[in-house]
Subunit: 251 residues, 2 copies
């Protein structure tokens, strides 16, 4: 069933109001009619089957029929901090990372990032990014849209990292691969509700300064398998592994 994320203000008891792009999608793209059903997602993470009760040019009204009890979110909040990659790779990371259950993303300007973003470019990009994660959330039937934080310097990322319970960075050069310190063991030790920050370098990897800074701030280096992954594949490995471990291996 088609799924729409509806802002908090557009819910009123058992009535839901949809306008703008989503209204256009319902009436013009999907060509739904009165009494057709869609799923509406509330920002609190709940979702309901709703039926269309009236159409106006720019406003569609729906009524809640049944609240759903879905479990489609990872039991942890996984945040991917991604060193700015080249081209449209960040689009890709946001789309696939959303499908795979990321809670939020922090793009950061790494020393070896080839692209630099000014304020204007960032604003334009952020609008685009919001659209990508919203659509990927709808498509993958998630109940929450990941948050995309403003781009930051690595010093700000380190400051921000105080809010997390577990802090990792992808760095196979110094990752310990004995059982006790492996990525697998770190994942196994996660506790429900923990906030996890995973930091991934850009194409050229982390600089020595960045590695020192992350280590000083209690980030643990992890290896993601014995093959060398491209920057845009690393986040997907992390998220797929955590999903596999807690949603498929233990289910």
């Amino acid at each position: 069933m088609q799924r729409y994320f509806v802002p908090r203000d557009n819910w009123e008891n058992d009535q839901v109001y949809i306008h703008g792009d989503d209204a256009h999608h319902i009436s013009k793209v999907m060509r739904f009619k009165i009494n057709d059903k869609v799923i509406c997602n509330h920002p609190n993470g709940q979702a309901a089957i709703c039926t269309i009760t009236s159409f106006d040019t720019n406003l569609i009204k729906l009524a809640v029929i049944e609240w759903l009890n879905e479990q489609v979110e990872l039991p942890f909040q996984i945040t991917i901090a991604q060193g700015l990659p080249k081209g449209d790779k960040l689009d890709f990371i946001l789309q696939k990372g959303t499908e795979l259950g990321a809670h939020s993303f922090i793009p950061f300007q790494a020393q070896r990032s080839i692209v630099k973003w000014d304020k204007k470019k960032t604003e334009k990009k952020l609008n685009r990014f919001d659209k990508i994660v919203k659509e990927a959330s709808e498509q993958s039937h998630r109940n929450k849209i990941p948050i995309i934080q403003d781009i930051m310097a690595i010093s700000d990322l380190v400051h921000e990292s105080r809010n997390y319970d577990v802090k990792l960075f992808a760095y196979e050069e110094e990752a310990k691969v004995d059982h006790e310190h492996s990525f697998g063991t770190l994942v196994s030790n996660l506790k429900e509700g923990q906030r996890v920050l995973v930091c991934i370098g850009p194409e050229g990897g982390f600089s020595t300064n960045e590695v020192d800074l992350l280590k000083k701030n209690n980030f643990t280096a992890v290896r993601l398998g014995p093959r060398i992954l491209r920057t845009e594949t690393a986040a997907l490995y992390v998220l797929a592994s955590i999903s596999y471990h807690f949603e498929e291996l233990r289910c």
Copy 2:
């Protein structure tokens, strides 16, 4: 260290000969000089550090210095059978699947595949695909280049599947998610050296006929986490999960 896959015929005792695109890459792109070192991969899966001993316009000679003892290949042969997807998604699946350790790929014409490939288109595509997996193998430091089989009909795929020990298909509608039959349990039960075939539908998924055919031929339906993955993300989930399980969780 830069890595090149060198055909069997170009090895002679401890001498290695490189010509064509790779010779151009060595001399013009990387601008290597005499005595510089690269890694050469033999088709048997072994790799050696080699030093450049002479340059000619189209032929570079190297001498083996040291054979490496690398363990970068998954302990199973994972084959991804991918229903033909739209656009350049197959390029993406081949590149990322190679990084994540796939042994081979079988593109197949599914009932709901929107694209149809004729013979001419297929030949052109296969050249391009060979290049993608070769470059991804070099970049990810693999010792084997995945095999790309000719595109086939699903009936041929079913015939081909007799050569495999474990046969799965991504189909959350019928996948059993109790612990005993979950994807995690199926992965846990893999034995070293087994040949595993994982069949993934195109954007529209498998048709009812295809599902019946696969089930009749002992393919097991699996779910890949509780979120709905796009077709191009499914193979990556499978490969990342298997790598995580055997290379990181148990290492």
